[in-house]
Symmetry: C2
Subunit: 192 residues, 2 copies
């Protein structure tokens, strides 16, 4: 690769990161309905054209942001600090994972519901497969008597967008957070 | 009401019952894709016109059948034999209810997924409200420390059509049945 194309590629990586970080910060401050592509471009010091070139459209940018956050959670699970990362007992890691996953869904619930309706996506399927594998591996340790594979699907379905959205809209988000925590705790401490 | 209109009304009730029972029996024997309105009419000893007059179309008939089955489960819960009906400990009644609800979803999964997509229906809302109230009342007894209202929604969402359909299609229906039973058992036996 020439020095020039290397520099172009590293510019592209830097721009992508700057755009996603600017989007994240602006959404947190103003909410999804009140952030324009113009504002994002200005905050990331890029042109609107760069954003559309890289992400296609607004929906593409939002999808990329959700994947970026999901990838950050995956990294924390694989190599971050315990109890989310390795080094804590399986039951504690499961509780930390479901708490973190719940926050990820709460913060992205409108995007996730919109995205669930979209066609199947290999990127989304890969990350779902990773979650199921992670939960099932920890369940096998914490609950060797249970059917870890099926139970991982049942537990993760309890953090579904429709249920989360209902509780956000009725101002019961923290009640749902505590209930899902309680559910996972019931499962990991159950003894036949 | 004249004797004539009383007789007409009791004929209508009898026809409705005969049509639903014939549909139920034929679906169980041949599967939803292999049963025609003609076969149902013949088995129920009514005309095709009577079926369309009463249920609108095929989808309307299938929806009525699901409600008929849901109403039968509600009756069993309100006034049937324990452990589904009154008279058993709350934990046993919850386990019996989720087992029965799981079978109801399994037997009607394609219809339920189609129906979930439909517009909101007061009949469907009433029966959902009844399920939530029933589960929450029993949870309040079995798990006085838990948030019964939110937990009833989380637990019932674990018996969702998409999850059930995935397990039917991958020949894991009984594994899912056992896992949901295990989940409810974990919840009702959990102690802080």
């Amino acid at each position: 690769m020439s020095n020039e194309s290397k520099r172009e590629r590293s510019d592209a990586v830097r721009n992508r990161r700057a755009i996603l970080e600017a989007t994240d910060a602006l959404l947190a401050e103003f909410g999804a309905d009140n952030v324009s592509i113009e504002q994002i471009a200005a905050a990331a010091h890029v042109s609107k054209g760069t954003i559309f070139h890289r992400f296609g459209n607004r929906a593409g940018l939002m999808r990329a942001l959700v994947f970026d956050r999901a990838t950050a959670l995956r990294d924390a699970v694989v190599s971050g600090a315990p109890p989310l990362g390795p080094g804590a007992p399986a039951a504690d890691r499961l509780l930390a994972y479901f708490d973190a996953m719940f926050r990820l869904v709460v913060d992205n619930v409108e995007l996730m519901i919109a995205y669930d309706d979209a066609a199947e996506d290999p990127h989304a399927e890969a990350i779902h497969a990773f979650w199921y594998g992670h939960i099932a591996a920890l369940l096998s340790e914490a609950r060797p008597d249970a059917d870890a594979e099926v139970l991982s699907r049942v537990l993760l379905s309890s953090v579904n967008g429709e249920l989360v959205l209902h509780h956000i809209r009725t101002d019961q988000t923290e009640r749902l957070a505590e209930t899902i925590h309680d559910l996972v705790e019931s499962v990991v401490t159950h003894r036949h």
